[in-house]
């Protein structure tokens, strides 16, 4: 133990002799790990948040397809679906998208039944008439509107449409409601010019979660022109968007990994003449190959473990305390209405361990291998740098 501590002391002294070089390696190494870990933490947090909330999404969403494209669905379909055993509430949804050419933003318009009891996460009142609406924070920001004011839109006939803002969704629901304008079903059907008896899609409640796939099969058999989307598929979509293989992971992860590979390659392709001389002197004064390798292993561990811990700490602070300012532009893309939200700090231990293996081990290997090649050569040749 004492021997190892002494070798560690020697390794630290050896690193301190080349402090600027080693400090710059630690800075670059920590930055690379911080970028990788930030992407991991951000995507994992978004995935966990989405999956935790979407558990209460509709069990089945039934769309109608015509010519392979999504088409309005007859409300009469809901009466057929209702008769399937195990099915609870069947609700035709009216919703759609609206491009606001004045502010160059896209909104999502959603219809609900008037006179529903008050919504959670809404400040203001619920809808009581067709001339009222509830809007998300993003819409309120874009339109410079607030509760009590009128929201002005252009309907499908090109005529101005005005509704009183009866409430706004609270900021902590931004991830779900930022671009949302909620109107009554009747008002929205009129706004979009939808024919009577049609809806955008139908949501289906299934009493027993294990019967969802079976009910979906029955819907498909009874109504062959429909596409039932089950809750499992919705959850699966979010799992695959934010998993290891997602586009974002691939783009950022690959470039960071390439940067790290260059760093490791530079180390692995050889050690400096000064380091060779140092190994030669150590061997000449009686150190054996095992001691030299332990020394170099310690040097690798000191740099990689320090960088790893610093990188992970930086990533956590960046993502969860500062709300990922460096990654948000990547997520935002061309979205004009991008929600402001706080990420829930979920940490996946498995991902952190994998990241550790992917970064610490290659660096240590690239430190030890060239040193081993020098350590097994004759001390005189090593000192001469041959």
């Amino acid at each position: 133990m004492i021997r190892l501590l002494k070798i560690l002391e020697f390794a630290l002294s050896s690193l301190a002799r080349r402090k600027f070089k080693n400090l710059s390696i630690i800075v670059v190494y920590s930055f690379t790990i911080a970028v990788l870990a930030s992407v991991l933490l951000l995507t994992h947090s978004l995935k966990k948040t989405a999956l935790a909330v979407l558990v209460d999404a509709p069990a089945i969403v039934v769309q109608r397809l015509v010519g392979g494209r999504h088409e309005l669905v007859p409300i009469s379909y809901s009466r057929i679906i209702e008769k399937i055993p195990g099915v609870g509430r069947v609700h035709p949804r009216v919703w759609g998208y609206y491009y606001d050419s004045l502010y160059h933003v896209n909104y999502t318009l959603l219809g609900i039944n008037k006179g529903q009891r008050r919504f959670a996460m809404v400040s203001g009142k619920t809808l009581t008439t067709d001339e009222q609406c509830i809007i998300g924070q993003g819409v309120a920001g874009a339109q410079h509107a607030e509760t009590g004011m009128d929201l002005l839109l252009i309907d499908s006939k090109g005529v101005g449409y005005s509704c009183e803002i009866s409430g706004t969704f609270k900021a902590n629901s931004n991830l779900w409601t930022n671009d949302l304008i909620v109107l009554s079903n009747e008002a929205l059907q009129g706004f979009f010019g939808m024919p009577d008896g049609l809806a955008t899609d139908i949501t289906v409640e299934v009493f027993n979660g294990r019967e969802v796939a079976l009910v979906a099969q029955k819907i498909k058999r009874l109504l062959p022109d429909t596409r039932p989307i089950t809750i499992d598929e919705i959850l699966h979509t979010y799992t695959s968007i934010f998993n290891w293989r997602s586009g974002m992971m691939l783009t950022v992860f690959t470039s960071s990994l390439i940067a790290f590979s260059i760093l490791a390659w530079d180390k692995a392709t050889g050690i400096s003449g000064e380091e060779k001389r140092e190994i030669g002197i150590l061997k000449a004064i009686g150190w054996d190959t095992g001691d030299v390798l332990t020394l170099k292993l310690f040097e690798g561990i000191i740099i990689s473990v320090t960088s790893f811990l610093a990188g992970i700490s930086l990533a956590y602070v960046h993502v969860f305390l500062l709300d990922a300012p460096l990654l948000m532009p990547v997520l935002k893309g061309w979205s004009v209405l991008f929600p402001r939200f706080h990420l829930v700090p979920y940490i996946d231990g498995y991902q952190i361990i994998v990241l550790g293996f992917l970064t610490i081990l290659p660096y240590m290997a690239s430190t030890v291998l060239p040193s081993w090649k020098t350590a097994i050569t004759d001390p005189e040749n090593a000192m001469r740098g041959v």
Binding site: E233, M248, T306
Partner: protein, 111 residues
């Protein structure tokens, strides 16, 4: 052994910092689960929402869970994506077991 103590001290500080961050994570998660999650789930349930409002550029980025199967190829196969979100949402979402198809000869459904 001065340098060793100093180095081990720095590592210990990092570990303590990470332990504190982990505690912070658990605490914020607990608060979110107790205060915000039930309300958000209630809202999502009542409005029957299926997607997060992250990408509002196009219908297939706003509601990826409900998009058409061929959405990534709506211009032409292997077309460059218009929107940056297209590089975040993988272009091919692998099918899951519950995808349905109809056997037209027998009328049976299979999973």
């Amino acid at each position: 052994m001065r340098r060793t103590s100093c180095f081990l001290g720095i590592i210990a500080l990092f570990l303590v910092h990470l332990a504190l961050l982990s505690l912070h994570s658990r605490r914020v998660q607990k608060l979110w689960r107790e205060n915000e999650l039930p309300e958000t789930r209630k809202l999502v349930h009542r409005l029957a929402l299926t997607d997060v409002a992250l990408w509002t550029e196009a219908r297939y980025t706003r509601n990826p869970a409900l998009a058409d199967f061929f959405t990534p190829f709506q211009d032409f196969p292997a077309a460059f994506e218009h929107f940056p979100a297209g590089s975040i949402i993988a272009p091919t979402l692998p099918a899951v077991d519950s995808r349905l198809s109809i056997d037209t000869t027998t009328g049976r459904t299979r999973q």
